[in-house]
Amino acid sequence: MNKSNLIVVMLKLLLVIAAVLFLFPFYWMISSSFKEMSIAFQIPPQFYPHHPTLNNYIKLLDTNAAKWFLNSVFVSASTTLAVVFITSMAAYSLAKINFRAGKFIFSIFVGSMTIPGAALLIPQFKIAIELNLINTYLGLIVPAIAAPYMIFLLRQFMKTVPQEVLESAKMDGCSEMGIYYRIMLPLSTPGLAAIAIFTFVQSWNDYIWQLLIIKNTEMMTLPLGVATLIDAEAVDWGLIMAGSVVTSLPVVIIFISFQKYFVQGLTVGAVKG
């Protein structure tokens, strides 16, 4: 084996070690969720649960966790549907319809992306109060529909659809609505999938806005609800780890199943940015 091959093997090994280190905290979270409360505090710790128990997950069901889970599913799914519908129309307009204000509108969308979301919490919260959105699911869904980044992303995707396809459809008497619905949407499925997944994950993982909007326990989403578990006097780490697993598992599964679209979405934003 020559020197450069040896280097490659060593670097590959380094990467494997880095990957294991990256995943280890997740292993620890999952394995601790199967430990009894006293074991979770024990020193020296058990590197794997010697007597695995489902008690933490059963205790989790005694809280409102099942309701929180359904709330999260409902809010994230509704947000995703609304964003895909409204964003795709806007992206079609900005990518393929030639009108004078289009460039200007697009540059406003892009420019707004540098404004930190948290800096707008106050005025957005004031509007939510004005519109009676406090403590409603609509209050979680409606503000998320304003998604300039998703419009930007989908526009980059739609730009790549050849203009000739649209022209020939127009020649055949297809209306603008028909072009959008019958041609643009089917041809930009990967882009639609990317923004749908991004939006779902973003909505599922949101915390701050949900904290401002939702006031009572039954209406909480999973992240909000699980965060309240630590308020208890004696912190039950096994239970909290179980809550953390339940909160993160659905999106991790979605991510692994749709990794291709994540990668496409991320790179389209970067390469043609």
Binding site: S4, I7, V8, L11, K12, F22, F26, W28, M29, A40, F41, Q42, I43, I86, M89, A90, S93, L94, F99, R100, A101, G102, I105, I108, S112, T114, I115, P116, A118, A119, L120, L121, I122, P123, I127, P143, I145, A146, V201, W204, N205, Y207, L222, V226, A227, M241, S244, V245, T247, S248, V251, I254, F255, Q259, F262, V263, L266, T267, A270, V271
Partner: protein, 293 residues
């Protein structure tokens, strides 16, 4: 004249119609809030009183030690976070490129998983690992006869927080850099190998310059991202201990939703946005040496 304009607008109606719904939501939850934040920043706007304040909020902020501390903390995090992101994700994406395509996506997934995990889970996971009394990390240090470390002490909290944030932010840059790396023609490397270039030399001489536009993109987006860090810090340290990890956005949140002083909080938002725009602009100006391929 007016008629011609009207005809043109009529011809363009579909452009407007399709973008209108998005524009409506955008105006309501983005555009109006931006204008409102700027406006309110010039007002005294608390639970008890309101009225024109001129630059009063800005003046009081610039003389406020806690605010200046939060600016310093924010910049400190950016200064640690951005170079670390660039260097680690660049090196990891080169390492990843050594594997077969199928394994490459496995590794990319591994590094991206923390980015899709709820910050509530991430926070609890790390608080449990780093706990002073029964955390695994302190136990492991004990095996090497190293004294227990309080990772969230006044002096260490900001570094610990930045490291935790790094673990959840590397996935995006790695995916983007890997894509750019895959786009470099193999023939370049083959030519360099014929000339006897070593592994490192190849990457410093070919990969680095070829990827400069992508690295610039990652630099700018991760800088903006670092300034915008908020929820994870709020959950992880809540800005403590004793303001050691309080960033501008954390202070803004406290000022608005704990103290109820919207005027001052919005002034912070304006100052932060100005800092971000200036720094993003500077990065573009100085890092963008135009390379021709």
């Amino acid at each position: 004249m007016l008629k011609r304009e009207f005809n043109l607008l009529y011809k363009e109606r579909y452009g407007f119609l399709f973008v209108a719904p998005a524009l409506l939501f955008f105006a309501l939850f983005y555009l109006y809030p931006i204008l409102d934040a700027i406006k309110v920043s010039f007002y005294k706007y608390t639970y008890y009183s309101s009225g024109w304040a001129g630059i009063g909020n800005y003046q009081s902020l610039l003389q406020d030690d806690v605010f200046l501390r939060s600016v310093k903390n924010t910049l400190l995090i950016v200064i640690m976070f951005v170079p670390a992101t660039l260097i680690i994700s660049f090196i990891l994406s080169i390492f990843i490129s050594l594997f077969r395509t199928r394994l490459q996506s496995v590794f990319k997934a591994v590094f991206y998983i923390p980015a899709v995990t709820s910050i509530v889970s991430i926070t609890f996971m790390w608080q449990y690992l780093l706990n002073y009394d029964f955390g695994l990390l302190n136990f492991l240090l004990g095996l090497f006869d190293i004294d227990k470390v309080n990772f969230l002490s006044y002096d260490r909290a900001i570094v610990t927080t930045t490291v935790v944030v790094l673990t959840i932010s590397l996935g995006g840059p790695i995916v983007i850099l890997s894509a750019a790396l895959g786009g470099i023609p193999v023939s370049y490397y083959e030519a360099a190998e014929l000339d006897g270039a070593s592994f490192w030399r190849k990457h410093i001489r070919i990969t680095l310059p070829m990827m400069k536009p992508t690295i610039l993109f990652v630099a700018v987006t991760s800088t903006i991202g670092a300034f915008q860090l908020f929820a994870i810090i709020l959950l992880f340290t809540a800005g403590g201990p004793n303001y050691a990890t309080t960033t501008i956005l954390l202070l803004l949140y406290q000022e608005a939703f704990v103290n109820g002083d919207y005027g001052r909080a919005n002034a912070m938002a304006v100052i932060l946005s100005i800092i971000i725009v200036i720094i993003a602009w500077l990065q573009f100006k100085f890092l963008r040496t135009d390379i021709e391929y």
